[in-house]
């Protein structure tokens, strides 16, 4: 009895907040966007979307990277078997390609990206250490770095996520990889029920969910994707429980956004299949991981470094690359070859533009049309993904 009351109370609190959120929002927040970091980017020069053709461009013969000192700000440890590790390896890889020794890389870990003091202190540290390229690897930094970037015009700041003032933006079209992964699941599954184990309701997670769902749909028109929400970036118990719940709901193939082996292990234990995320997860559960989606930042970082070296780079640059950046690992041995071939074909189609992931007619799961027939979604909307596509079934 009393328990019910309290949980109701909790719901009430949230509901009330919700109302406050939508209800009276015009009073203050309407004009408050004036100083929100998004629109301010328009203030300065027009965002320059760097074309993906630049990928793999080699540095000039006489290019000299000896003076390069690179700073990297990570929100967590660089060997977390997840996001940070992916970024770090991308950066290290790019440096190796360009023959920059690792001594010229300074990595600052566990800089809480909600902590202004820490973030700005970190950036200042790197400036003091003489870094001329500083890379913020977590979305949260975008709130704090522009200030420092403005103060230090000769250093080049690059920041994951939306474009900010004086900062080179970079993102990866992760949806391409996840789409293909979903497509693979769709091809393999004999039911049209799929699952997704999600951490937090953030754009990158939504991207993964939507792309996966569209992928499944590409293979099975009636595919539905059930989402289990952990509401935590990192909680082994919750991840295990999410996977288990999905499996109990009859899911055999699932995608996920996660950093611990909990989900693959749970799937393996229950004979279900999962798409690896962030990095190659096959080692953790060889019999469960079909294929892994990996962030491959190397081309982007390489291009940025070259650009800095030959001065071709502009602080209005925005990298939003897919293709090899949004990579899949090799498929597990138990995946039938015809599936592998179909996925390869789809990959080629995406590259050639024959296949567009967010193409109309596309509805969200509330029934509103996102993209009318015959049109395609613009990058800004894709980056933000403030929606769930119509075959996603999610509490958020």
């Amino acid at each position: 009895m009393k328990k019910k009351v309290l949980s109701l109370l909790l719901t009430a609190v949230m509901a009330a907040a919700l109302l406050a959120g939508c209800g009276s929002s015009e009073t203050e927040s309407a004009d408050s966007s004036g100083n929100s970091s998004a629109s301010s980017s328009e203030a300065s020069g027009k965002t320059n979307w760097v074309s993906q053709d630049k990928m793999g461009a080699a540095p000039a013969k006489d290019a000299d990277f000896s003076k390069f000192k690179i700073g990297e700000i990570e929100s967590y440890v660089i060997d977390d078997g997840g996001w940070c590790q992916a970024t770090h390896e991308g950066l290290v890889g790019a440096m190796k390609e360009l023959g920059i020794s690792e001594d010229n890389l300074i990595t600052l870990e566990e800089i809480d990206d909600t902590d202004q003091a820490a973030t700005q202190a970190a950036a200042e540290q790197l400036i003091d250490a003489g870094c001329n390229v500083i890379i913020g690897c977590s979305t949260g930094y975008s709130t704090f770095l522009p200030e420092i970037a403005a103060k230090n015009p000769d250093a080049y700041f690059a920041q994951w996520g939306a474009k900010q003032d004086n900062i080179i933006g970079y993102m990866i079209r992760s949806y391409e990889g996840m789409f293909l992964a979903g497509y693979a699941c769709g091809l393999m599954s004999d039911t049209s029920l799929f699952g997704f184990s999600a951490s937090c309701n953030e754009f990158s997670v939504r991207t993964a969910i939507n792309a996966y769902a569209l992928g499944c749909k590409h293979a099975k028109s009636d595919a539905k994707v059930k989402v289990a929400c952990a509401d935590s970036w990192y909680d082994i118990d919750k991840e295990t429980q999410c996977a288990q719940s999905l499996i109990d709901a009859g899911v055999k193939y699932m995608g996920g956004e996660y950093s611990s082996p909990a989900i693959p292990e749970t799937c393996e234990k229950n004979g279900a299949y999962v798409v690896g995320y962030h990095m190659d997860r096959s080692a953790e559960a060889p019999d469960a991981v079909l294929v892994s989606f990996c962030w491959n930042f190397e081309p982007i970082f390489k291009s940025i470094l070259i650009g800095v070296e030959n001065g071709s780079i502009s602080k209005n640059d925005m990298y939003y690359w897919g293709g090899d950046c949004s990579a899949l690992t090799d498929f597990a041995s138990f995946v039938p070859s015809d599936v592998v071939d179909k996925v390869k074909a789809a990959k080629a189609d995406i590259a050639s533009g024959k296949l567009v992931v967010y193409a109309g007619e596309l509805k969200d799961n509330k029934g509103n049309v996102l993209v009318p027939k015959g049109e395609v979604m613009d990058d800004a909307t894709i980056q933000l993904q403030d929606f769930f596509v119509d075959n996603v079934d999610c509490a958020w």
Binding site: L10, V13, M14, A17, L18, A20, G21, C22, G23, S24, S25, T27, E28, S29, D31, S32, S33, G34, N35, S36, S37, A38, S39, V77, I106, T107, L108, E109, E110, I111, D112, T114, D115, Q116, A117, A118, Q120, A121, A122, E124, Q125, A129, T139, G140, S142, T143, G161, A162, C200, N201, E202, F203, S204, D231, Q383, L384, D386, W396
Partner: protein, 356 residues
């Protein structure tokens, strides 16, 4: 023969307390130094780097920015402990204070800044107090351990914050789980152009007030009596239950101000998991400061310095966790040291200046 024995100190000279703490803090640093050298770092150079970083002008600024939320939590927790209330709920109270505060800042009516900020201040207090009361009332009525209940509330409230930040209050068109920034006119001004917000002054004022409150007011006196001897309190006609509720509420309210500081002076917005353990660190700070509000401000800022200077040692390749570790060991050692605050070594054939 001269036998030695530990005996309670009649009174505790502030100097002894100070010297004790310093000695044991140094011991703690030495202790951590051991681990560092095991992992192949030179402790001295590490500490040197930290020091240099802190005493630099922007180091001081950053320490203060990092320290402010900790100071408020420390003050709040210390206030509770002043009546033996183990308020572990600092995080939750901080969060709820922030929620109330940002709600008014963003969705409340347009007002002249002074008035608006005042209301935000009061709401932050209210939020913190509300969070604390949920634990305080069961404590007062049925003696439910506030330690555990306030800790459970942390989780619950943080989920509320999480919901709001990822859900309805999330800044539209942005990727990060945070609200929009509040309007510039509602920011607290900086002190001169130091980049240090006036909220620091608020913290100091509150600390001084609390110090005076404990020493000079009847309420402060009541708290002291309840803390020292609950039975005597009843005997003196003090309403203990009421005091429990009151003290926990105030304790929570002050923690709530940490949210106010963030919103008006540091982030100027609310974010998911904003407290980030400040409430727990607050306990450490309160204890190390010997529950003395003014000392809390100093210790709090020092902790800020410690946390942010941990970044600087990473340049030397020292793992970031060093800060947490140093905090922990400083605490352990100071606790051990505090034994010598309470006891002194005496010779048994000490002369009798005390009757029985």
């Amino acid at each position: 023969m001269h036998k030695m024995r530990f005996e309670r100190r009649p009174t505790l000279p502030i100097m002894i307390q100070l010297i004790n703490s310093i000695i044991f803090v140094l011991l703690a640093l030495a202790f951590c130094g051991m681990f560092m050298s095991v992992l192949g770092f030179n402790p001295l150079s590490v500490y040197k780097a930290m020091m240099l970083d802190i005493i630099s002008s922007k180091g001081i600024k950053n320490s203060i920015i990092a320290g402010l939320p900790l100071v408020f939590c420390g003050l709040g927790v210390a206030f509770g402990y002043r009546m033996n209330m183990n308020n572990i709920g600092g995080d939750g109270q901080y969060a709820l204070g922030a929620v109330f505060c940002i709600w008014f800042a963003l969705y409340g009516p347009v007002m002249p800044p002074a008035l608006k900020i005042t209301v935000m201040f009061l709401l932050a207090l209210a939020g913190g107090a509300a969070a604390a009361l949920i634990a305080a009332i069961p404590k007062a009525l049925w003696n439910v351990s506030e330690t555990i209940s306030s800790m459970m509330l942390n989780y619950i409230i943080l989920y509320v914050l999480n919901y709001l930040m990822y859900g309805p209050w999330k800044e539209k068109g942005q990727m990060i789980a945070q609200t929009t920034q509040i309007k510039k006119k509602y920011w607290l001004p900086e002190i001169g152009d130091t980049g240090i917000s006036t909220v620091l002054i608020i913290a100091v004022v509150i600390a001084v007030f609390l110090y005076w409150f404990h020493k000079k007011t009847t309420k402060g006196y009541e708290m002291e009596v309840v803390r020292r001897s609950p039975r005597a309190a009843i005997y003196a006609g003090i309403n203990v239950k009421l005091n429990i509720i009151l003290v926990l509420a105030i304790s929570g309210a002050i923690c709530g101000l940490a949210g106010f500081a963030q919103i008006t002076s540091i982030l100027h917005r609310a974010q998911a998991d904003m407290p980030a353990g400040a409430g727990y660190t607050g306990i450490v700070i309160a204890y190390l400061a010997g529950l003395n509000p003014i000392a809390v401000v100093i210790v709090g800022l020092l902790f800020g310095a410690l946390q942010f200077s941990a970044v600087s040692v990473q340049v030397l390749g020292v793992p970031s966790q060093i800060a947490t570790m140093i905090q922990g060991s400083i605490m352990l050692f100071v606790i051990i040291g505090s034994f010598f605050n309470r006891y002194r070594l005496i010779r048994i054939d000490g002369s009798a200046e005390r009757g029985e």
